[in-house]
């Protein structure tokens, strides 16, 4: 039993399932567009100040629309009791977690790739390639914490309410780092000086929470 193979199989089955039903991504993309619209009402898109806070606004869109995807991660396994079959299968907990996290990452990246150009158009910002590492690292932070808490709350009442309540405070450091980095990079800055420190913070957060999630996932799922 190849554990990585198992993780890949789980990720693929999630993505295949999502491709056919599009239940989470459709909702998340629509939600992202709605948030973009509301934000553009709240913050006049062409003002100078808005340009400065563009980084923050972008991650608000990702963080909020992402909840729709993250919530479904383990919740989709409740149908037909498929979660039991996954827990009973001879795969280590980290393989299940990584498989789920990977499929969620892909789905979130899809939402981001769709929202980014629209965001750039609404707020008149030029996208830069240096954004890519920040997008990946920041989204991984969202995914790691989101999937871990999705597993935690899968059998809890009011799951959809609990998940945002729990993940946002936990994600504050990662969100701050992502927002500031995005804002600076969109402003034309490079990965130097202070930006490097933020990047290191983001990487550190990702490592710590991936380790915690992988270490505790078995306890969360089995008890």
């Amino acid at each position: 039993m190849n554990s990585f193979g198992a993780a890949v199989a789980i990720a693929r089955k999630d993505l295949r399932s999502e491709l056919r039903s599009k239940e989470a991504t459709n909702a998340a993309v629509s939600f992202a567009l709605v948030i973009l619209l509301i934000l553009s009402v709240a913050f006049e898109p062409t003002g100078d100040e808005t340009h400065a806070i563009a980084g923050g606004l972008l991650w608000i869109v990702f963080a909020f629309s992402g909840t729709l995807i993250l919530n479904r991660t383990f919740a989709r396994e409740l149908q037909n009791d498929a979660l039991e079959a996954l827990i009973a299968a001879p795969i280590p907990g980290w393989a299940l977690f990584l498989g789920k996290a990977t499929s969620s990452l892909v789905m979130m990246l899809v939402v981001e790739v769709v929202s980014l150009p629209i965001f750039a158009i609404f707020y008149d910002v030029s996208l830069v390639w240096t954004l890519v590492p920040v997008l990946l690292l920041g989204t991984w932070a969202l995914v790691v914490v989101g999937v871990a808490f999705s597993a935690l709350t899968v059998n809890v009442q009011l799951r959809e309410v609990m998940l945002p309540l729990l993940i946002y405070p936990t994600l504050v450091p990662a969100l701050i780092a992502s927002m500031i980095l995005t804002g600076n990079l969109l402003d034309g800055q490079a990965f130097a000086g202070d930006n490097l420190t933020w990047l290191r913070l983001l990487v550190g957060f990702d490592i710590i929470y991936t380790a915690l999630a992988v270490g505790l996932i078995d306890i969360v799922l089995v008890g």
Partner: protein, 228 residues
């Protein structure tokens, strides 16, 4: 093959299982009887590796149920069918084949066996209830498990599925696998069973071989232990 010794399981302060001990040898079929709330599902879930006992030990072929080696040997059918609706029958089995390290060539064999080869590319959500149940059976038997843990397997099966399951269980026992199943369908279960355990309020009220008496009057055990 399966050894349960002095197992206690608590939900909060409430003991769902109290000092439960039993053994299942290869080729045996254990019928787990008892009222709802007696602890049958709790015990089965421990065997299948979904929860851990608070006290006592459980071993499956010498390993704890949560060990990877033990999990690879167990096939579980619970109340849900545990397949993914948006995947086809073949895709569903392919996932489980990867998870259990089963050669993909086995998949069409099993689909044929449960009578789903013709609809292998149909999505599980398009299947009728009977077809979904048969897919669940294929999922559980795919990796040739040495221990089958079945929670009220006959409850929602149609005739075709029941016959299929019974023949698969017979075959499995012939190759040395053992079966533990809980049931309310006394007649079907007692016909298959070689051993019987009756749980009452979390304790083992009776444990022994299935006798002719039980076959003749399936409710005999319940009457004897005041389950009414």
């Amino acid at each position: 093959m399966v050894a349960v010794e002095g197992v206690w399981k608590y939900f909060g302060d409430f003991p769902a299982l109290r000092d439960v001990s039993l053994n299942v040898s290869r080729g045996a079929c254990l019928a787990l009887l008892g009222r709802n709330g007696a602890g049958k599902t709790t015990l089965l879930r421990i065997l299948a590796g979904f929860s851990k006992p608070a006290k006592g030990t459980v071993t499956i072929a010498g390993a704890a149920p949560r060990d990877l080696s033990a999990r690879a040997r167990v096939g579980y059918i619970g109340h849900g069918i545990a397949v993914w609706d948006e995947l086809s029958a073949e895709e569903n089995l392919r996932v489980f084949a990867t998870l259990y390290g089963v050669d993909r060539a086995q998949i069409p064999v099993w689909l044929e066996r449960v009578g789903l080869l013709r609809v292998r590319e149909g999505l599980a959500r398009e299947f009728s209830r009977g077809m979904r149940q048969r897919l669940a059976i294929a999922r559980a038997f795919l990796h040739q498990p040495e221990l089958l843990v079945l929670d009220e397997p006959f409850t929602s099966l149609d005739d075709r599925a029941i016959a299929l399951l019974q023949s698969l269980l017979r075959e499995a026992r012939e190759r040395g696998a053992c079966v533990v199943m809980s049931t309310h369908q006394l007649r079907e279960a007692l016909e298959l069973a070689s051993d019987v355990v009756l749980l009452k309020n979390g304790r083992v009220a009776h444990s022994g071989e299935r006798t002719e008496e039980m076959l003749k009057d399936p409710a005999w055990l319940y009457a004897r232990y005041g389950e009414g």
